[in-house]
């Protein structure tokens, strides 16, 4: 454990947005660790704060956001080979822009059409970052852009360099976006729902591509997604987020085979499964809470079938299940009643385990 290099450490992050309808307390104490070469996934419903957390880590929050407290420690090796640890929250926007973004952290956004410039050939867009950050000579940047396009699996790279985004298909565009994000050799790649706008066949290819690139370059990846199938394919560690808090964190096997938080149970049960013949899909009752009001107690309690009395009054702390596995639910307290997994989910997990043994 100790020999692993920590890249990102988020502690007690707390963010609110000021809007016309009052202040929205979107992030309410997030803790997250990322080690070198690992893949971490953040899952949750829309509005749970997944994207906001990662945008803050990159210093590209919206202007109406304020960080109330917390630290985001990021460790990197600068151009002189000196190891540095910085607190992103305390850095100025300009410093983040010149030292961190692009060079060390890069982001792949959800919709490739809106993240590419429609008026610029894709080759130029890939070279832009290198020239800006490292003052790379143009022909060297051109060669690197070519090799990047080949790395992300685009054939006829030379011809494609002159293409505009609208001449490419959705899957190709997302490959170009990945090539752009890799142009300055980042050590951390943040993928914000990289495949939601794509269809399944292309999704599988893009995920395999990111995995491949990660292996070749030894970078760390953070996935933001709501698709648990994607998580199962790529992640080493999973953080489940709900209403601005991480409610369960653990290794991928712990989350999928031994989930502890009722919200994780709900998410896993709601995942459509090709092997069951159930007539109805499971849905989590109710809808996510309105974060304009302070929430006393556990935010998930109103939708939680297994909520205890204490959930209405006191927000549960993180209980330790194993060295890597923590969950914020009072059900893990020693005095809480013993509650079994929902029978359907239990059957499903048993079936998954059996399949895995084969």
């Amino acid at each position: 454990m100790s020999e692993k290099e920590k890249i990102l450490e988020i502690r007690d992050l707390d963010i609110s947005f000021s809007t016309t309808s009052g202040s929205i307390h979107a992030i309410r104490g997030v803790n997250l660790d990322l080690y070198k070469g690992e893949t971490v996934a953040i899952v949750g419903e829309s509005g749970s704060g997944k994207s906001v957390t990662m945008k803050t880590a990159m210093g590209i929050m919206d202007s109406n956001a304020t960080v109330n407290s917390g630290t985001i420690l990021y460790t990197y090796t600068d151009e002189n080979g000196v190891k540095k640890t910085v607190d992103i929250v305390k850095m100025s926007r300009h410093d983040i822009r010149t030292h961190i973004n692009g060079r060390h952290m890069a982001m792949v956004f959800q919709d490739p059409m809106t993240s590419l410039d429609p008026t610029m050939p894709i080759g130029k867009q890939i070279m832009e970052g290198m020239i800006h950050h490292y003052h790379t000579p143009k022909d060297e940047a051109y060669r690197k852009a070519l090799s990047l396009l080949e790395l992300v699996g685009i054939t006829d790279a030379e011809k494609r360099m002159k293409n505009y985004p609208h001449q490419l298909s959705g899957g190709m565009r997302q490959r170009v976006v990945i090539a752009i994000s890799l142009a300055c050799d980042p050590d951390l790649l943040i993928c914000d729902e990289p495949t939601t706008a794509l269809d399944v066949t292309i999704q599988a290819k893009i995920l395999e591509l990111i995995k491949d690139v990660q292996k070749k370059l030894g970078i760390s990846v953070i996935y933001i997604t709501h698709d648990l199938g994607v998580v199962a394919k790529v992640a080493d560690y999973v953080n489940v987020m709900y209403a601005g808090r991480i409610v369960e964190t653990g290794s991928i096997n712990e989350i999928f085979y031994e989930p502890c938080h009722p919200y994780t149970w709900g998410l896993l049960s709601a995942m459509p499964d090709l092997d069951t013949d159930d007539d109805r899909l499971y849905t989590i009752p109710g809808s996510p809470p309105n974060l304009t009001h302070e929430i006393p107690g556990d935010a998930y309690a109103p939708r939680n079938h297994y909520a205890l009395n204490i959930d209405d009054r006191l927000s549960p702390p993180m209980f330790k299940v194993s060295d890597t596995h923590y969950a914020a639910t009072w059900l893990l307290h020693e005095r809480a009643p013993q509650i079994e997994l929902p029978p359907e989910l239990k059957r499903r997990i048993e079936r998954m385990k059996k399949e895995a043994e084969k």
Partner: protein
Amino acid sequence: MNHQEPLLKVEDLHQHFPVTRKFTVKAVNGVSFEIYPGETYGLVGESGSGKTTIGRSIIRLYNPTAGKITFDGSDISGKLNAEINRKLRTQMQMIFQDPMACLNPRKKVVDIIAQGLDVHHMYASKAERDEKVAKILEKVGLAPEHATRYPHQFSGGQRQRVGIARALIMNPKLIIADECISALDVSIQAQVVNLMKDLQEETGCAYLFIAHDLSMVKYISDRIGVLHQGYLLETGTTEEIFSNPIHPYTKGLLSAIPHPNPILEKSRVALSYDYKTSGLDYSKGTYHKVSDSHAILCTDEELAGWRQES
């Protein structure tokens, strides 16, 4: 089921879009299928395969280039006379993909839902109109006070419910649902799919369910058609498509779905299918029946080869 008359019969539908004098986009090439009353037919395929075009051709947002579409006994592919036009516009309805884009932002929900009634003069008094809207709102799980709100005041799932209410108020026999859950969150998708299933049981309407997400299609469809590059490659009951896929494209599509089982998923590599390198020519294939309901577009040799592989 088969002894019934099909509600919708699509025969050899072609839809071409001329771009320049020399270049025509052939979006749909010779697609045939049937939908029986009260069943759900799922159309799946990647983007650009022509799923949406088929839906739009059927409801006559496009004029079909060739082919015959029969809806409830009348031909709706040629020139429409007033009577057939009215039948088509009332008995067939559509739910669109993006609920924010398809609802008029300047109209209240009550007016959006009642627009079909207004156009076809389907009520005697204002009270009847309001009552009909209230009834439909309740059916799709919205409260009566939602009627006076505007679309932007709703969440994504609620907006899609408004879209469903708008289609349902005409009491249609067929609803074309064009990627109606793709823009929604996973947990909301499940709610909408469940709602659509409940409504089908209650009203007995048929669905043409267009989607690229096979796992959701499996839950809702009775039969499935797999589409690629404008050709219907394989069609069969949900059971047949999922347990015994024969066409390599169907197999590729099925294996691309990530399974929520990490140990298995980590080692699994999705089958990839590339039309260019597969050596198949869809235009040469004819339909081969594997069973009564299961048909595949291919040549004799191709089918024999695939059978041997499996």
